[in-house]
């Protein structure tokens, strides 16, 4: 069913009794051209673009839980393309361009809201760094504006501009950044893939890989074996656990990132504000809650919860830069498991096992990458060559010395 304003109107007049389930719930077939392991944002967008852009429709997405039950359902919904390095920036700009056309493309309301993202600077070197980053963004076709103090005051008069430790002196502003309704992204991609013949199989955990003579022939699942010409793993957060079943060790550690939502407040924050020096970032949802977060907890964990020292640290960061939030009450908080890679950048690549592909290592930045990750992964799966914007996201880049280390802190995942 194609959604339109007319449909909504007609359904309203007939008691909304004509809406149908958004996707089928099929049992898996014995064999597919491509089996995608993981029905999160990236897995579903991969299936969608495989079917829509590359004509590969004999595809199954197998998911351990329910669709979108991973980090697409537990993030802070920010989209942006304000990266520096050539291995990253064109990819994230592709993603932002796909976000801009997404709702028309998959005919689903994902509430893409380009309300802008502001990265605060506190001193000259940081401002110089942002000038350089802004230029790198412009060269990749993105948008970037360097703001001075007055420019920020106009937008956010309530910030603590004369903070003793971190006075606000400038900012990098990306007007095309913003937020998106995260669950709707998964649902929209899932619906679009299903309509084009992709089987979305839920409650179907992958328990092993069928690897014969160095070739991956399929997967073992809770619903029996499924043969596949290509198996595409896409399970960021659980990459270590899943790829261990194929005997692989990865340049990844799993860490927890916490996020927070305050009670609903009147509209006050126009876009996304990031305070990188203290690590606090915040936006305001359409319901009015302040959605904010900060650093990862910093130790290996698969538990989807963090500890209190980071809660305190994040709230201190918020108070330092935006004292007005001191009287807002915290409504809820949660933790999500991140694939923290050795250089802070992701992987979209083949593995050394023929027929087995890997997408992961998204650190805490996977949500914004959802469209481009799916598009580039589908490109790799369909054509067996990487998309031009994702050529650097290789698993062997550490061996070759071609890290994509935006932060320049080396092989220490909890510092990225």
């Amino acid at each position: 069913m194609r959604y339109s304003a007319l449909k909504v109107f007609a359904q309203a007049l007939t008691g909304n009794k004509g809406w149908k389930p958004v996707w089928r719930e099929p049992e898996p077939k014995a064999e597919y051209d491509v089996v995608i392991v993981g029905g999160g944002g990236h897995g579903l967008s991969t299936a969608y673009y495989l079917a829509k852009e590359f004509g590969v429709t004999n595809v199954a997405v197998v998911e351990k839980g329910w669709l979108g039950s991973g980090n697409i359902g537990r993030n802070t919904t920010i989209i942006r393309s304000n990266y520096l390095l050539p291995g990253n920036e064109p990819f994230y700009e592709l993603s932002l361009k796909l976000w801009e056309g997404l709702e028309q493309d998959f005919n689903y309301n994902a509430m893409v809201s380009q309300r802008g993202i502001l990265n605060l600077a506190h001193n000259d070197p940081q401002r110089d760094g942002y000038a350089r980053r802004g230029n790198a963004m412009l060269m990749a076709g993105a948008d970037a504006v360097l703001l001075d103090e007055d420019g920020i005051r106009e937008m956010c008069p309530y910030l603590d501009f004369d903070n003793a430790r971190f006075p606000i002196r400038g900012a990098l502003w990306q007007p095309r950044g913003g937020t998106v309704r995260h669950d709707a992204v998964a649902w929209g991609y899932g619906r679009g893939a299903d309509q084009r013949g992709v089987d979305l199989v839920q409650n179907c955990e992958v328990t092993g890989f069928q690897i014969e003579n160095g070739v991956c022939m399929g997967v073992e699942t809770a619903k029996g074996p499924i043969r596949a010409k290509k198996v595409a793993v896409c399970v960021a957060g659980s990459s270590g656990r899943v790829m261990a079943k194929a005997g692989m060790r990865l340049p990844i550690e799993s860490h927890v990132l916490q996020a927070f939502v305050s009670e609903g407040l009147k509209p006050t924050i126009p876009g996304v504000i990031t305070f990188g020096a203290g690590h606090f970032y915040v936006s305001q949802s359409d319901k009015g809650g302040l959605v904010f977060g900060g650093d990862i907890d910093g130790y290996n964990t698969y538990a989807q919860r963090g500890n209190l020292p980071v809660v305190e640290d994040v709230c201190e960061g918020g108070m330092a830069i935006m004292p007005m939030i001191g009287r807002a009450r915290l409504l809820r908080m949660w933790g999500g498991v991140m694939d923290m890679s050795m250089d802070g950048s992701p992987f979209i690549d083949r593995t050394h096992i023929d027929g087995l592909y890997f997408n992961g290592g998204w650190c805490y930045g996977g949500f914004k990458a959802t469209p481009a990750s799916g598009y580039c992964y589908a490109h790799l799966l369909a054509k067996d060559e990487p998309h031009p914007t994702a050529t650097e996201m290789r698993l062997d880049r550490f061996r070759r010395g071609h890290m994509i280390d935006e932060k320049g802190v080396g092989a220490q995942p909890n510092l990225h």
Binding site: G240, E253, Y302
Partner: protein, 95 residues
């Protein structure tokens, strides 16, 4: 999390900084033929288990000792804490 320091008793984990998998104690021999391969694995690849994990913590805001903490990555429960020095010495003895 509370880390039961072998010398100082129970200390809050926020006094420590975290390095990573305790396999970082086992630095490869740079003179072996396949040293490049071994260092790639040592520096960049991790087991990253879901369950028991042995890891290095540094008591930065305490006695500045390195500890090997055995902790579950599923529950955060800590089952064993040793001085990294003792672990390293006993591993060398085993060789």
């Amino acid at each position: 999390m509370i880390i039961n320091h072998p010398l100082l008793g129970p200390r809050d984990a926020s006094e420590f900084t975290y390095l990573g998998d305790a396999s970082l104690i086992d630095r490869p021999d740079w003179q072996t033929d396949n040293a490049q391969e071994l260092f790639h694995e040592y520096l960049y690849l991790r087991d990253n288990p879901a369950g028991e994990h042995r890891e290095l913590w540094f008591h930065e805001q305490g006695d500045r000792s390195w500890l090997v903490v055995t902790r579950s990555t599923l529950t955060h429960e800590i089952t064993k804490v040793e001085l990294a020095r003792d672990v390293a010495i006993s591993r060398r003895r085993d060789e």
